[in-house]
């Protein structure tokens, strides 16, 4: 269910309140950008996709059922927009996937735990590259399920609702995606969990 805050926002958006839309954007921009970045692995594409998502929301908010979960609806629009984005402008990477890291993107590693240790910093860059490569190797649908499950921490029922598939199918996509990822990371032994943590 939506929170009272969300419900209030939904009411105002449905009434065509422009300030509510700005509030909506400010509230969800990071969430949508984050998911778009995970799906596209490109800062510029993520911004493009996230803006497209908000434009779609603005145009089609009248189609939103007030009893539906706003978060799920936004996730669904974002995943679908990423899919459309890739179909419109497919780009090949070395891994043969349609996602890529642009050289103009901000560095994927934040200067945190590794900044004082060049060796660890190098290992960190390598680790990020391996993770990105593993994500790029899985299919678009498998990637979406994996990201929603392990990065967005959603349960399979919610993922199935977002992707409009059955829970069984979501399980299969997750299993297949994880199998490919495990194979890709087979020879890799990452740093101990205490050294780096996922935000």
């Amino acid at each position: 269910m939506n929170t009272p805050d969300e419900q209030d926002l939904i009411e105002r958006l449905a009434a065509g309140d422009r300030s509510a839309f700005r509030e909506f954007v400010e509230r969800y921009k990071k969430m949508i950008y984050k998911l778009a970045y995970d799906m596209t692995q490109s800062h510029h594409d993520a911004e493009d996709v996230s803006q497209e998502v908000f434009a779609k929301v603005y145009r089609s908010f009248h189609t939103f059922r007030k009893d539906a979960r706003l978060g799920s609806w936004l996730y669904r629009i974002t995943v679908n927009t990423c899919r459309d984005f890739h179909r419109r402008a497919p780009r090949e990477t070395a891994a043969g996937s349609s996602v890529s890291l642009s050289s103009e993107d901000p560095p994927a590693i934040e200067a945190t735990a590794w900044e004082d240790d060049p060796e660890k910093a190098g290992a960190g860059v390598f680790l990020q590259a391996r993770i990105d490569r593993a994500l790029a190797l899985v299919s678009e649908r498998e990637r979406a399920v994996f990201i929603l499950r392990h990065y967005e921490e959603l349960d399979l029922k919610s993922i199935a609702e977002i992707l409009q598939i059955s829970v069984g199918s979501a399980k299969i996509y997750l299993f297949r995606g994880l199998r490919k990822i495990r194979k890709e990371l087979a020879d890799f032994r990452g740093p101990a969990p205490t050294e780096v943590s996922y935000e």
């Binding site: 921009k29 803006q51 934040e110 993770i131 994500l135 994996f146």
Partner: protein, 229 residues
């Protein structure tokens, strides 16, 4: 190569870090979004088609069986028209073809002969290489004489041609005559250069290709169409 354990793979994948686009990016996000949406709205407005004029809405009101009935009537009417066009007793395209031929009789044999003779002259020039062959081997005097004859013959044929098909051949004969006149007037002292000029004219007007097409067309017109349906 053994796979990682599931939990280990997930643990590694969760070490993924996303870049932070920075405060400036987030501060300007709304302005960029607003500008984009205004731009998109402008494009959509320009591309919008007036809805009341849309025939789709009208068609949506018509039931599907009405389309099927209309299609049936159209097929029936088309069948009647085709029947009338073929006419009673004439059940083959051979007959209708012969009837069309009688309306516009063409001197098919004469035209084909003219094109064949012209083609021989033109091919000898088109295939002549002044750098490697003896210019005298071309026997230009004979070709000039034949070209003159063909120019005269072309004038006679033009007078015989009429109708749409005739006009097509007439145009080709006119182009041919231009080239043949050039050949007839070649300077014997400047063979190589003159031949080159003629060859350029041939290529520019695609005369040889047009002759080949015309000959195929004439051949099919000569052959009896005895395939009865």
């Amino acid at each position: 190569m053994s796979k990682l354990k599931k939990e280990e793979a997930i643990r590694i994948m969760k070490m993924r870090r996303r870049p932070d686009p920075g405060k400036e990016f987030w501060d300007g996000y709304w302005d960029r979004l607003e500008a984009r949406m205004e731009k998109d709205a402008g494009v959509e407005a320009a591309a919008a088609v007036p809805a009341p004029a849309s025939p789709r809405r009208v068609f949506n009101l018509v039931p599907r069986w009405a389309y099927a009935a209309a299609a049936g009537v159209m097929i029936l009417v088309a069948g009647i028209q085709i029947g009338r066009w073929i006419g009673p007793g004439e059940t083959s395209f051979a007959l209708s073809g012969a009837r069309a031929a009688n309306r516009n009789p063409l001197p098919v044999g004469q035209i084909a002969d003219y094109f064949n003779r012209s083609k021989v002259i033109l091919l000898s020039l088109a295939n002549f290489d002044p750098r490697s062959e003896d210019p005298y081997a071309l026997n230009l005097a004979l070709q000039k004489q034949v070209s003159r004859e063909l120019v005269d013959r072309g004038r006679e044929l033009e007078a015989l041609l009429s109708g749409a098909r005739g006009k097509r051949y007439k145009n080709l004969i006119a182009d041919l005559k231009t080239i043949l006149v050039q050949i007839a007037n070649l300077d014997p002292e400047e063979n190589a250069q003159a031949v080159e000029i003629v060859r350029e004219g041939l290529a520019a007007k695609e005369i040889l290709f047009k002759i080949s097409i015309a000959l195929i067309s004439l051949r099919s017109a000569e052959e009896p169409t005895d395939v009865a349906l």
